[in-house]
Amino acid sequence: MDDRRIEKAISILLRGGVLFSAMVVLCGGILYLAQFGNRVPDNHVFHGEPTELRSVSGTIRAALSGRAGGIIQLGLLLLILTPIIRVVISVVAFAAEHDYMYVTFTLMVLAVLLYSLTGA
């Protein structure tokens, strides 16, 4: 894989990831307004999201059971994953170029991102 092809692949991934996650968020949003549209919003005082919507597995469970908040959160999670997958592609690309210094750098960035998301 040469540089231009890698850049093209990353470009498609970024655009596709953003559009796909926006679609998921939109679907969840329509459902959310249909269910809770006439309630009073309660984001003036901070109390944190329910535990379910604070983890990757909890969000997937909530989305699969069709809860609106869970579907939106899944879309947001897909959006957060888009740059992370971009970093994964870069690891493969640098490895294909035998540029092991940059494979190391990229793996370190990936480790930080995964730590952030899963909180080892």
Binding site: V18, L33, F36, G37, N38, L53, A68, M101, M108, V112
Partner: protein, 278 residues
């Protein structure tokens, strides 16, 4: 105001923010947090969480376009992302320990900085620099397309640039903004990277930086789906419209106006922080 009305107000506010952010190159994130906290009374932690998500959306969308033009330097981006992601983790941790009024005050100062930065001319960089040994070792030097053909450039000031990037990441994680201004400053001033390469590479990095702090925010319960939904969709639509309009509009006057709006919001944020109303 019920949730439907609130959602539409936030959506249209975010649409305008994303539109102006794309037109002026300042990003929509900088005005989302003041809009939500000052005008709509949302807790700043939810506001920062929602803003961060919108930053990932716009940065990824824009980076996709720039990559194809061949300006971004992937190696510079990846190397400096080491600094920004670690900084972002620190910023996200600080966000849960600092009082909200301190966050609001820092936000105000960051806004003033980005307004000043956008009003200022960017310096011309001479292309006849000698290569820097550390930058060469890290393979950071590159080339980019200009009207006169491919132009090579040499990177320098790596330790300073790396430190500034750590700071940019911390601000991004703490305030939910892309902190593109600090990133560009680190690259074009400290590392002597051509302006066009700096801005596009910065955009390329913003998504990864924001993803690093978004993970922490998600686990802390700062990302509220009901609020993040209209913010993300609004900023995304606005920035797409802005990018399309950019080709046809003269943006100089708009840039000045938007900078003035940012200064006003900054002062309002700082005043509220001092009075303890945020």
């Amino acid at each position: 105001m019920d949730t439907t009305a609130f959602t539409f107000v936030v959506f249209f506010g975010s649409l305008v923010a994303g539109f102006l952010g794309a037109l002026t190159g300042l990003g929509g994130g900088v005005v989302i947090v003041p809009l939500l906290t000052l005008a709509l009374g949302v807790d700043i932690r939810y506001a920062v969480g929602a803003s961060l998500v919108s930053v990932i959306a716009t940065s990824s969308g824009a980076a996709a376009a720039y990559l194809r033009e061949g300006f971004s330097n992937i190696r510079i981006g990846m190397f400096l992302e080491l600094a920004t992601t670690l900084g972002a983790l620190l910023g996200a941790h600080l966000a849960s320990h600092l009082p909200t009024r301190v966050i609001a005050a820092i936000f105000g100062i960051a806004l003033l900085f980005s307004a000043y930065f956008s009003a200022r001319e960017h310096p011309k960089i001479s292309s006849d620099q000698t290569p820097d040994p550390l930058a060469q070792k890290l393979k950071l030097d590159g080339r980019y397309p200009t009207p006169e053909g491919m132009q090579e450039y040499h990177v320098r000031g790596v330790p300073l640039g790396f430190s500034l990037m750590f700071g940019a990441g911390t601000l991004s994680g703490l305030l939910g903004i892309g902190s593109g201004a600090v990133k560009v400053l680190a690259m074009d001033r400290a590392m002597c990277i051509p302006f066009k390469v700096s801005t596009t590479t910065s955009n390329f990095m913003i998504g990864v930086t924001a993803a690093a702090s978004a993970g922490v925010y998600l686990r802390r319960g700062y990302i509220d789906p009901g609020l993040a939904m209209p913010v993300m969709l609004g900023v995304l639509c606005g920035s797409m419209l802005g990018a399309a309009a950019l080709i046809r509009l003269r943006t100089h006057v708009l840039r000045i106006l938007f900078s003035l709006v940012i200064v006003a919001l900054a002062i309002e944020m700082i005043l509220n922080a001092i009075k303890g109303r945020i």
